[in-house]
Amino acid sequence: MSEKLICGKCNAELVPKTINLNYLGHSLTNDFPCCPVCGQPYIPPDIVSGKMHEVETLLEDK
């Protein structure tokens, strides 16, 4: 992760953590930067417009 991000609530630096994503009855896991204290995640815009969009489209056609 190139960007350094700090949780606004806990003042802690984000670290990679596996989180669950749900869509249309399907569940997937992936590593994203998260606050080690409260768990607040960060999904970067390039993941959203790239990989995540691809998976969304795939699941909609399933």
Binding site: E3, K4, L5, I6, C7, G8, K9, L14, I19, N20, L21, N22, Y23, L24, G25, H26, L28, C35, Q40, P41, Y42, I43, P45, V48, S49, M52, H53, V55, E56, E60, D61, K62
Partner: protein
Amino acid sequence: MKTVKPSRARAFATELNLTAPCRNGQAPRCSRECPYGLDVRAFIRKLQRGSIRGAYGALSEQLTFPKVMCAICGAPCLKGCTAELSGAPVNLPTLEQAVFAGSKSSPPRYNVPPKEERIAVVGGGLGGLTCAYVLTTLGYSVELFEAENDIGGRLRELLPQEDYLPEIMSVIESESLTISTGRKIKSLNELESFSAVAIATGAGSDALGFEGKALPEKVFAAGEITGTSLPKAVESGKAAATAIDAYLKIGAGEEVTLSSGLKPISAEKTEKSEPLTKEQAQEEARRCRLCDCRACYDRCDLLQHYKTMPAKAESDVRVTLNPVDCFMPRRATRLINSCNDCGLCRDFCPESIDMNYMLMTSRALMFDDGSLPKVYHDIWLRDFEFSLSEKAAYLKKPENGYLFFPGCQLGASDPELVKDAYDLLCGIKPGSGIMLNCCGIPARWAGDAEGFKSHLEKLKGVWEDCGKPVIVTACPTCKRTFIEYLPDIPATSLYELLAEGCAPAESSGETVAVFHPCSSRKDGEMQESVKALIRSRGITANEISDPLERNRCCGYGGHIYPGNRELFDTMAQKRADSDPLPYVTYCANCRDVLSGKGKDCRHIIEVLTGRKRETSPPSLGQRRRNRVEVKAFYSGEEIPMDELKLIIPDELRNKMELDLIGDHDISDVIKSCNETKNYLLTERGTKIGHIKISKMTYWAEWSEEGDAFMIHNAYCHRMVLEGEGDGR
């Protein structure tokens, strides 16, 4: 005992059988007109590739005596040719003649083991000859008796001998066939030694004394004596041979009674033309479109996008609605959500197959059972809700029995359009009321049948409260919704009222193409009224030049964008390119979609007031603010938007529009994150936060600039983060 109730979607899928009468994939009109039911496309395909031999093969495979049969059919195919619409029909007879002139081959003969039985055929016309020929191919020995000195029967009257005799002889010639000419058979007694007899003595003959009588066992009839036309004598000859074969093998037979007093059906000679060269024939064949019914396909962007035809689409829908049985993916989910609800398919289908009904019903059933991705319509349903909220909805009751209903999009597109439209109405109908609301079509398009129904009931309640006025719509979709779903309510369009008694003005030299919205297609009065209004301003009103492009949806219909952005873009661009003239339309969505594609497109109200908007279509956020402005204008009280002041760079703004992210969404993200401190701090000094609004998750990156917020990024997704919902 517990019984499992099948889901409504499943029941619908099981019953679904709309496309059975679909003509796609069936014989084209020329083939249906042809007395032989010739597969014309198979013949033409060979010629288009330049194969004369192949083309001859296609004919001889289907026709016992190709040249003779083509000479006596009278060419009804010419009447059935759809190329006639664009000039002359494809000249099939000339092509056939070119093929006969260029090929010497005779059909192959297949030898089967000879059979013992001998069969007599009485009559050497087309029916008798065919019967005799087919029997020899089945292995029987045949003796054919002809009373005259030559075979041919009625062919002798119609054609010169060289046009039939050589071909017939080359086809029928066989060691098992004996032809006795000049031999008139008077009675069946003469034929006792034969196992079966076919009588083919022609229409009007005494048929060995059986005219008007039932034929005894072992005696059969072939050709015109059975009442057929001359071309169909061949088919009848074949049928007689088949019946004789069946009789001799298993003793089965149907009792046949001959008609009496038959007269020959007049036969028409096919006109002969100058022989074409191979190249000319190929060129003429290339004019053939190899017709297949594509009446819906040619008018439906959805079918074209999926390169599918009704029957295939239906089978995909069936599987999608009832996936349990098949272990197949719900492969048509997106297709079901890609229908614009325009109904062109049904209206142009020669069998009235209603794909529109099938897809919209499927959408509603999937909405109902939760299998339709809710995100496809979430944004529009929130927009719908907003237009009904106290921020945007308004009612001023009419004093004159006329209630103006501008619809949810006209004011969103431009508040001035509502004000101008209302002023125009009040000019002719003083005391008219105004109702800022929505016809409810977004709910239907979302598949929310219950939501649609309950909204219609509310509209009806308001209408009753207002003393049952005439509803005057500005949007053709609103008018269609009232007429189709609230038939008790008298509804008309503003344009029909304004056009009453208006006269064309002197021409200004300006010409426009009228872009009739898809929802006005069956509304000739509205269409004509709009044209009359355009002319009343001295402007010539043309139709879109390509008839196939008229009344097509701009892409907005059915709210397909979130589910199929690609199809939306294709449609919008195609419609913008339909005609080079500037457009005038009377649907705010058509105007915004088409001008969004760079097309010069005005709303009819702009034409009437002479005031043309120069800016590009408003953003989603602006559309909400516009509605609030219209409401405030009429109610005199402005309800605050509760929106933060945002600064959005142009490039980001464009991206947000493509992703359907509104200012209000971003404003809500910032408000919520600032309140809960659920945001991230970047090294750049900006904040990043997200919230889920309804079915979508929105992200923003912002920094504070005085009392405003500078937006650095905004994006959204459909997948749901852990702990924030189930993503259904």
